[in-house]
Symmetry: D2
C-alpha cells in the first residue's frame, strides 16, 4: 500500500517564449498537473545566460503570476524557480516542473524512488557573493532542502540545483557606498564566483569537501576542489538562493529514478553513457530529463587540443560551452530539451561537470 | 609491387593562430611531409566563419607564403586552400594537409585506398553567385578533380569539398555599376546562396540530381534538392572555386580509407556511428579525420523541439550549428580536431549534413 | 483663458531595468503624473533591439500591469506602448511618458503648443507584413491619430511614431500552413520590411508621397521614397500597430513645442543643430526630449568613406547605427537619455533619418 | 631657409580590408609618399579590437611585407606599426602614415611645426604585463622617442601613442610553467591592464605623475591617476612596445600642427570643439587627423544617467565606447576616418579620454 508515501511527477514542457506558459496551462486544464503540488520549476530560457539576460527575470515574473493566481501569494513564494539562460546550439527552451504528489502514486521499488525537496535562503549582501559567507548560506540551505525531501543520508543525494545571485554595476556601487568592497568588479565574472561559492557550499553540505580544506581564496581559483553533484546558476533577479535537492528515497514511491555522472571533460560521452546504462535506458526509452553543467576548461585544452572559448571576445565562454556540450548530450539522449547550464566552477573537474539523469522505470 | 601507384598521406596539425605554420614546418623538417606532394590544405580557423572573418584570408596568405618559399610560385598556385572559419565550442583550430605520394606507399587493399584530386575553376562575377552559372562552373570543376584523382565512377566519390566566393557590399556595388543585380543584397545571406549553388553543382557532377530538375530559383529555397557528399564553404578571399575530391580507388595504395554518412538532423549520432563501424573504427582507434557540415534547420525544429538559432540576432545560426554538431561529433570521435563547417544548404537534408570519415586500416 | 484646452506633459524617467517602474510610481505618488491622462509611453530598453529582444515584451508586460492596476483594463488597453530595444554605446534606458492634461495647463502661444494623439490598428497577418496591406493599415491609423490630437493639417505634424510587428520562424510557418508565403524568410530582415512599409504608410497619410507612386515592390528597395517625419520600430510582442502623432496645434496650451529635422547621413550634426536653434535651445537649456532614427547606409559609405556595419556578422548594423548616431546626438544635447531607434528604412534618406526635438519654452 | 630642418607629412589612406595597401602603393607610385621616410603607420582595422582580433596581425603582416620590399628588412623593422582594431558604428578603416621628410618642406611657423619620433622597447614577459616593470619599460621608451623627435620639453608633447602586448591563455600557461603568476587570468582584462600600465609609464615620462605616487596596485584600480596625452592600444602580435610621440618643435618646418584636449566624459563635445577652435579649424577646413581614446565609465553613469556598457555580455564595453564616442567626434569633424581607440585606462579621467588633432595651417 503506497498511499501514505509521496511520489514525484515531472513535467517537461516546451516554451515558445520566456513568458509562454500555455503548456503548463494545458496540463492544469487536463488535470495532469496539480499546481498545489509544485515544488520547483526549472526553465531553460533563450537569453544569453550572462549578466544582461532578462529572459530569466521575464520568465520568473510570468511563472510567479501563474502560481499566485492558482495557489495564492504565500504558497507561490515557496516554489523554487530556477531559470537558466542560454539555449545555444539546438538546445530547446522548456520548463521542467517538479511536482510532489502527497498521497502516493505508483509502486514501491526496492531501491526507492525519486525524492525532491527545496529551500530558500536569506538574501546575501553584494560583498558576500563569492566569499565564505555565501558558501555557508548555501551549505545550510542544502541541509534544509534534504530535510524537506526526507533524505537522511548524503549518499542518497544525486543532484543539487541552486539559483544564486550575481553582481551588477549598481550593486557594486551600492556596496562601495557602504564602504564595502565586492569580490570582483567585472559583473560577468561575478557570476562565476557566485556559482563557485555556491558549489563549494553544496560540497560542504554533502560531505564531499571538508570545511577546513576550503579557504575563501580558493573560490574561482583552486579548481581541484569541487562537488560531483552540484549545479549552480546565477541570475540577476534574486539576492538569496533557491535550492532543489534530487535524490533517491525508500520513503517515496513511483517509477521515477535519478542517477548521476561526472563528465571529466567537455567530450566525456562515455561517463554519461555509463550513467544511462546504469539506469537501464541505454537506448533512450524511459528517458525523462537530463540536467548538466558545461564549461570551458581553464587550461585552454580538451584532451590536449586547444580550444578558443576563453580568448573569444565576441561570444562568452559559457555560451560556447553550453552549445558544445549540449550537442554532445543531445546526441546521446536523442532530444534537445536538456537542462544544460553554463559555468561549472567547482562543479565537477575543470572543463567537465556533473550530470543528472531522471528515468521512468517499468513496474517490477 | 606498389611503386607505380600513388598513395595519400594526411597530416592533422594543430594551429596556435591563423598564421601559425610551425607544425607544418616541423613536419617538413623531419621529412614526414614533402611539400611538393601537397594537393590541398584544409584549415579550421578561429574567426566567426561569416562575412567579416579575416582569419581565413590571413591563414591563406601565410600558407601561400609557406608554399611559394618551398615549391615555387607556379606550383603553389595549384594547391587547393580551403579555410573554414569558426571553431565554436571546443572545436580546435588545425590544418588538414592532403599529400599525394607519387611512388606509392603501403599495401594494396581489395577495395582500394583513399584517392584525392583537385581543381580550380574560373572566377565568377558577383552576379553569377547563387545562380545557374555558378552551379555549372562547379559541376565542371568536380569532373576535373575526379579526373585528377583517377576516379572514374561517381560511386567511388565520398566527399567533395568546395571553397566558393561570397558577396561583399563592395562587390554588389561593383556589379550594380555595371548594371547587374546580384542574387541577394545581404552579404551574410550571399554565403548561403553560394554554398547552395556550389552544392547543387556537385550533385549534378555526381549524378545525384538531374540538371533538368534544378531551376535556378531552387537555390536556397527547395531544400529537398541536395547532395549527400557535398561540403561547401564560402570565403571572402576568392572569386573562383577550389575543389577537392575524396574517394576510393584501386589505383591507389596505402592504409587510408574514406567513408561517408548523411546526418538527417543535428543530433543524428546514429548515422555517424554506423559509418565509424562500417569503417572498422567504432572505438576511435585508427581514426584520422572527420569532415562534416552543420546547419540550423529551417523548420526551426529538431525532432519536434524548437531551436532558437534562426531567431538569434546576437550569434549567427552557422556559429550555433557548428558548436552544437561539433560537440555531438567530438563525443563520438574523442577529439575536437574536426573539420566541421557551417552552412549546409543543399548539402544533406534540411538541418542535417554529410560527413566524411578517414581512417587508417591495418595491413591485410 | 486656457481651461477648455488640453495641454501635454512629458516625463523623461530613468529605468534601472526593463521592468523598473519605480520612477513612474514616484511621479504618481507626488502627483506630478496622473495615470488617467497617459496616452503613450515610449521606452528605450536594453536588449539587442533585434528579433530575440525580450526586454521589449518584458517592459510592456510591466507597464501594462502598472496601468491596469491604476486605470483599469479597458483604458489601459488604449495606451500606446512603444518599446524600442537597444541602448548601445552610452544611450540610457528610460521611459518617455506622454500625458494629456484635459483642462489645460499653461499659456497659449502664438504658434500653438505640442499636441498629441494616438491610435491602434487591427492586427495584420504575417503575410501582410512588408506589403501594401500593411502600408494601408498604417496610413489609416495615422489619420485616426491626427484626429485624436485635433490636428487638421498634415503640415502641423512633426513626428509619427509607430510600433509595428515582425516575423518569427513560428509566424512564417503558420502562414505557410495556410498556404501563404511571407515577404521574407529572414526574421531579422522582416523587421526592416515592417518598419519600411509602416514608414511608407505614414508618408501616404502625411501627403509626402502619392499612393500611385508606391509599388509594393518598392518596400525595402527604393530608398528614394521616404517620409521625413516617420519613426517606426518593430517588436515581437504585437501583430497590430500602435501609433503616436506629435504635432503643433493652436487648440493646445502650454510651454512645450516640437520641431523636426532630417539628418542626411549618420554624421549630419548640422541639421540637428539647426533644429535646436530654430526651437530656441542651441545650448540645451529647455531641452526636454529627442526622438531619432539611425541606420547604416546601404551604399556602405558615409561621405565617401567606407563603413563596415553591413558586413559585420557579429553585431547587427542596427546596433552599430544606434550607438554611433546616439553618440553624435548626445554630443549635441548633453544627455544620453535619447530615444534613438534603429532601422530607418524609408524614414529619411538612406543612411540618415528624421529627428524630433521637444522643448520647453518660456512663457511669452 | 628651411632646408636643414625636417618636416612631417601625414597621409590618411582608406583601407578596403586589413591587408589592403593599394592606397599606399598609389601614393608611392605618384611620389607623394617616400617609403624611406616612414616613421610610423597607424591603422584602424575592422576586427573586434579585443583578444581574438586577428585583423591587427593580418594588417601588420601586410604592412611589414610592404615595407621590407621597399626599404629592406632592417629599416622596416624600425617603423612603428600601431594597429587599433575596431571600426564600430560608421568609423572607417584607414591608415595614418607619418612620414619624416629630412630636408624640410614648407615654411617655419613661430610656434614651430609638428614633430614626430618613435622608439621600440624590449619584449616584456607575460608576468610583467600590467605591473611596475611594464610602466618603467614604457617610461624609458617615451624618453627615447622624444629624443628621436628632437623634443626637449615635455610641455611640447601633445600625444603619445603606444602599442602594447596582451595576455593569451597560452602566455599565461607559459608563465605558470616557469612558476610565474600573471597579473590577471582573464585575457580580455589583460588588455586593460597593459594599456593602463603603459599609460602610467607615459605619465611618468611626461612628468604628469610622480613615480613615488604610483603603486603597482594602482594599475587598473585608481582611476584618479592618469595621463592627459596618452593613447595606448593592446595587440596580440607583439610582446614589446612600439611608441610614437607627437609634439610641436621649432626645429621642424611645415604647415602641420598638433593640439590636444581631454574629454571629461563620453559626450564632452565642448572640449574637442575648443581644441578645434584653438587650432583655427572650427569648421573642419584644414583638418587632417584626429586620434582619441574612448571608454565606458566605471561608475556606470554619464552625467548621472545609467549606461549599460559594463553589463553587456554580448558586446564588449570597448566596442560600445568606440562606436559612441566615434559618432560624437565624427559629428564634430565631418569625417568618419578617425583613429578612435578603445580602452582609456589611466588615459584621461574615468569615462573620458585624450584627443589629439592635427591640422594644416596656411602659410603665414
Amino acid at each position: 500500500m503506497s498511499s501514505v508515501h509521496p511520489s514525484t511527477r515531472i513535467h517537461r514542457v516546451p516554451a515558445a517564449a520566456p513568458d509562454d506558459l500555455s503548456g503548463l496551462e494545458r496540463l492544469v486544464a487536463t488535470g495532469a498537473l496539480d499546481p498545489s503540488g509544485i515544488l520547483a520549476i526549472l526553465g531553460k530560457t533563450e537569453g544569453n545566460g550572462c549578466v544582461n539576460d532578462f529572459t530569466r527575470g521575464f520568465a520568473t515574473r510570468a511563472l510567479a503570476d501563474f502560481l499566485r493566481a492558482r495557489i495564492g501569494n504565500e504558497r507561490a513564494a515557496d516554489v523554487v524557480l530556477v531559470m537558466s539562460g542560454g539555449t545555444e546550439g539546438a538546445l530547446s527552451p522548456h520548463w521542467l516542473v517538479f511536482e510532489r504528489v502527497e498521497h502516493g502514486e505508483g509502486d514501491a521499488f526496492p531501491d526507492g524512488s525519486l525524492a525532491i525537496g527545496t529551500s530558500v535562503t536569506r538574501d546575501v549582501l553584494p560583498e558576500e557573493i563569492g566569499r565564505a559567507a555565501q558558501m555557508d548560506v548555501v551549505r545550510s540551505g542544502v541541509v534544509d532542502a534534504m530535510a524537506a525531501a526526507g533524505i537522511t543520508s548524503v549518499d542518497d543525494v544525486h543532484f543539487v540545483q541552486v539559483k544564486c545571485p550575481l553582481l551588477t554595476s549598481a550593486r557594486i556601487v551600492a556596496a562601495a557606498a557602504r564602504g564595502r568592497s565586492c569580490a570582483v568588479s567585472d559583473t560577468l565574472k561575478s557570476m562565476g564566483l557566485s556559482r563557485g561559492a555556491s558549489a563549494l557550499g553544496i560540497a560542504l553540505a554533502l560531505g564531499e569537501l571538508d570545511a577546513a580544506a576550503i579557504f575563501e581564496s580558493a573560490v574561482g581559483r583552486d579548481m581541484n576542489l569541487f562537488s560531483r553533484r552540484a549545479s549552480t546558476s546565477a541570475g540577476i533577479e534574486l539576492m538569496g538562493h533557491e535550492i532543489l535537492v534530487l535524490g533517491m528515497s525508500r520513503g517515496w514511491r513511483g517509477p521515477l529514478a535519478v542517477g548521476h555522472a561526472v563528465m571529466r571533460d567537455a567530450i566525456d560521452a562515455a561517463a554519461v553513457q555509463a550513467c544511462l546504462q546504469g539506469l537501464g535506458v541505454p537506448d533512450g526509452a524511459g528517458f525523462e530529463a537530463l540536467l548538466a553543467k558545461a564549461e570551458a576548461s581553464r587550461t585552454g585544452l580538451v584532451r590536449g587540443a586547444r580550444h578558443t572559448m576563453n580568448d573569444d571576445s565576441d561570444i562568452s565562454a559559457t555560451r560556447h560551452a553550453r552549445a558544445f556540450v549540449g550537442g554532445m548530450l543531445a546526441g546521446l539522449t536523442g532530444t534537445t530539451e536538456l537542462f544544460v547550464s553554463g559555468g561549472a566552477e567547482h562543479q565537477g573537474p575543470d572543463g567537465g561537470g556533473p550530470v543528472a539523469v531522471i528515468v521512468r522505470r517499468n513496474a517490477s
